[in-house]
Amino acid sequence: MSNPEIIVRHLNFTYLRAPQPVLKDIHFEIEAGTVTAIVGQVGAGKSTLLKMLNGLIPSIIPGQVEGDIIVAGQEVRGKDPAFMAQFINLVFDDPVLQIVQLTAEEDVAFGPANLNLPREEVWKRVFRALERVDLKGFEKRNPRSMSGGEQQLLALAGILAMRPRIIGLDEPIAMLDPLGKARVLQAIREMKESQGATILIAESGTDIEAICEFADHMILMDKGRILDRGKPGELFARRQIVQESKLKVPQVTRVAWNLTPSSVSPEVPVTLEGGRRWLSSLLESAKSKSAIQASLSARETPVISAVRPKEEPAIEIKNLHHVFPGDPPVHALKGINLTFSKGDFVALLGQNGSGKTTLAFHLVGAEKPTNKDASIMVNGVDVRKSPLSQVVRQINYLFQNPANQLFCQTFGQEVTFGPQALGSSPAEAMERGREALRKVGLEHLWDYYTLSVAKSLETLLSLASVLAMNPQVLIADEPTGGLDYATGEKVMEILLDLNRQGRTVIVITHDMELAAKYCRRVVVLRRGEVWMDGTPKEVFGQPERLSQTRLSPPQVTLLAQSLASYGFPQDVMSTEEFVSLAQSSQQTRS
């Protein structure tokens, strides 16, 4: 490599008191000015590797290091991270914890001020950085009043103002809504084009489609080792390795995998535009359009929810308003009228601030309507008038951050707490707890300690602790958030299984692919009102209306919509459906 900005040689790292190394013989070089995505499941070692590049590990989180790291010509070992911050800076996944000041401009100024630059230069950089991330006008705002996306942009601006040679982004969009993701990705794209900095992005898979849009190279990690590396298109062409890593694969790539024999192509499409071009050339046939159109009538619904909802309502919401006091007051819900049937599997979509969580909190009685004529009935229980202890027997809530709910020493104690709090005898609570742990596949961890378990286990345990209370309706708030693809799928399969048993499931999510794959009904909220309500096909098949909420359909739906001239319908929901349509076309040609 002619101009390596980062050199890592035979790096091994073991956290203090950990039984085995978390990084094993890591060896790579990264050229200056490129964008490299480090991909792999949660626990693969991506974040550890990034934090070692500027010395945060082992400086703040200690451990044993072997091997060499040279960043921007500096040997990192033994250097203070504050010194390395002159060359490399990181942006973390949680925007809240990396903002250390009380106004946007002061926070952006924090880094340059620590570099002891002249005050005029600091302010110049501050305003330039805020402008570049589209936060001009936010200078005096308290970060607490900003959305998650804006906070992450602010964190990014704080780094840009330091003008480092290398920027590492650790799951930069994992905790954001689609609008926040789009804004941050746009800022990264602009950074790539104008700053000339070397960019590294750690990504566990959920946002792989977005990352593939601008990554020059990819490093695939699994269990602390580098499995493979190369251009994204080349790396995903080696499908066996990718499948073994259980990494989420872009939908266009999955389409390509299914339409071509394995291991023959040196490169596969990984972006929407790449997929469109690749398929256009594949479908160039006079008979294609008619073949696809003919196969339309034979299409089956892609929704895999096993039960059809009953006519009987599980939840009835009438004229629900909620106004949060403040200056000015925030009208969070504006006359919501919704009915969810028993056995329904619903996705609640919308940007942050659209009212999803406020609505969900009303359903479980954690918030009360601010208008007197509102009514919320859950399985015949008037949520507004009933005590919380009665409501939670009917409906319960799985929080986005499971750590908020867990406090007991062992898994067994955790899952028996809820039933006992609701009056079950210890024996009955134990039975319900065991059953709940069995449902999530953790029955063998009854005596396992809850302290310091991985996020995936925390989520499953939290789900089990809610299931032990046997609610007929379950609301799951971003149940796959912060999880890797494989664990996310597992959580969704558990929810699907519950739905098959007749429970009503409502999932609040920003993952459109997940909503299209699992849910029978999609409700889109916009500024406190129901904006769209229908089957996934009905909702995602209206791209214009959907775009007004700044939501985007799954990648495969967008792919089909971009191939409308070939007769592809607007409402293709899954890769399987897309592939069957494309294969019909190919068969007709042959």
């Binding site: 973390f92 009380l102 880094g111 620590n114 002891n116 406090f407």
Partner: protein
């Protein structure tokens, strides 16, 4: 809703003062609140402070609960002392006969260990003086934090040559206390949905029932501390000398406030110690 004890940018006269002027201004209120006990002085002082904070556009709503709880706490805490203050010699300014008027006799003079205890006009006066002491203290601290940004505080601490860990802990506390309060609310809500409640008449059970709240918040704080440390180091905090972002350039108004308030404070202190000005 605005969080208590947090800086909010407003282009007010108080915000525009230099950090030193603000320190002198609010410091004077703190000193007077601590030294004076007489409600006849405290109430006008509180009114002046209130007007000053209103001019600085400080929202009072987030402080209502804090002020009520703090006032009740100090009154309950001082009630024991108040009922034992039956000797009029404790009072230097107020009429000795008036403060000795008994509303309710509680213990006879020969009561073992405690002696006589009674609710007198003096006891009531003494009790009232404490909320009037604690309210200005809370509002003064709130006012200082509402009008002084973190970078101004860091600049002042740096000028005072405070060690790096002190500056770091100060900034982190000021920035993240509201986040922890918010997190507490969220955890409380999450546990309520699992059937958790604080309602019990048994005080020991009440304490043990805090566990579902305290354990997650402690875990969360511990996790956050690492991330905050990394975020700060990642942005070169502690590298060496820091650019002083706050302006220490004194304007006319700063001189007037600083000199005027300093003189008033010195005179007030002298009057308090020499002539019992502001005593009960």
């Amino acid at each position: 809703m605005a969080a208590p004890f947090q800086y909010e940018f407003h282009n007010t006269a108080v915000h525009r003062l230099t950090p030193l002027s603000k320190l002198v201004l609010f410091g004077a209120f703190l000193i007077m609140a601590g030294v004076y006990l007489d409600p006849r002085l405290k109430i006008p002082m509180l009114v002046i402070l209130w007007i000053l904070l209103a001019l600085a556009k400080m929202p009072f709503r987030p402080y209502r609960g804090i002020l009520v709880i703090a006032s009740i706490a100090v009154m309950v805490g001082q009630s024991y002392t108040a009922v034992l203050m039956v000797n009029p010699d404790y009072f230097k300014v107020y009429d000795r006969d008036w403060v000795s008027i008994v509303i309710l006799e509680l213990l006879p003079p020969d009561f073992p260990i405690f002696g006589r205890a009674a609710i007198t006009y003096g006891a009531i006066l003494y009790l009232i003086s404490f909320p009037l002491q604690v309210i200005p203290v809370i509002l003064t601290v709130a006012g200082l934090l509402h009008t002084t940004s973190l970078s101004e505080i860091v600049s002042v601490l740096s000028r005072l040559r405070m060690p790096f860990p002190v500056i770091f802990m100060t900034t982190v506390a000021l920035r993240f206390v509201p986040e922890i309060v918010e997190k507490l609310r969220l955890i409380q809500r999450a546990q309520s949905l699992r059937g958790w409640t604080m309602e019990t008449r048994n005080p020991i059970k009440k304490i043990t029932r805090l566990k579902p709240i305290l354990v997650p918040i402690t875990r969360s704080v511990i996790r956050s501390v690492d991330v905050i440390s990394m975020s700060s180091k990642n942005r070169a905090f502690g590298l060496g000398p820091v650019t002083v972002m706050a302006s220490f350039e004194m304007k006319t108004v700063d001189y007037i406030v600083t000199i005027g308030i300093s003189v008033l404070t010195v005179v007030g202190l002298y009057a308090a110690f020499a002539w019992d000005f502001g005593s009960l």
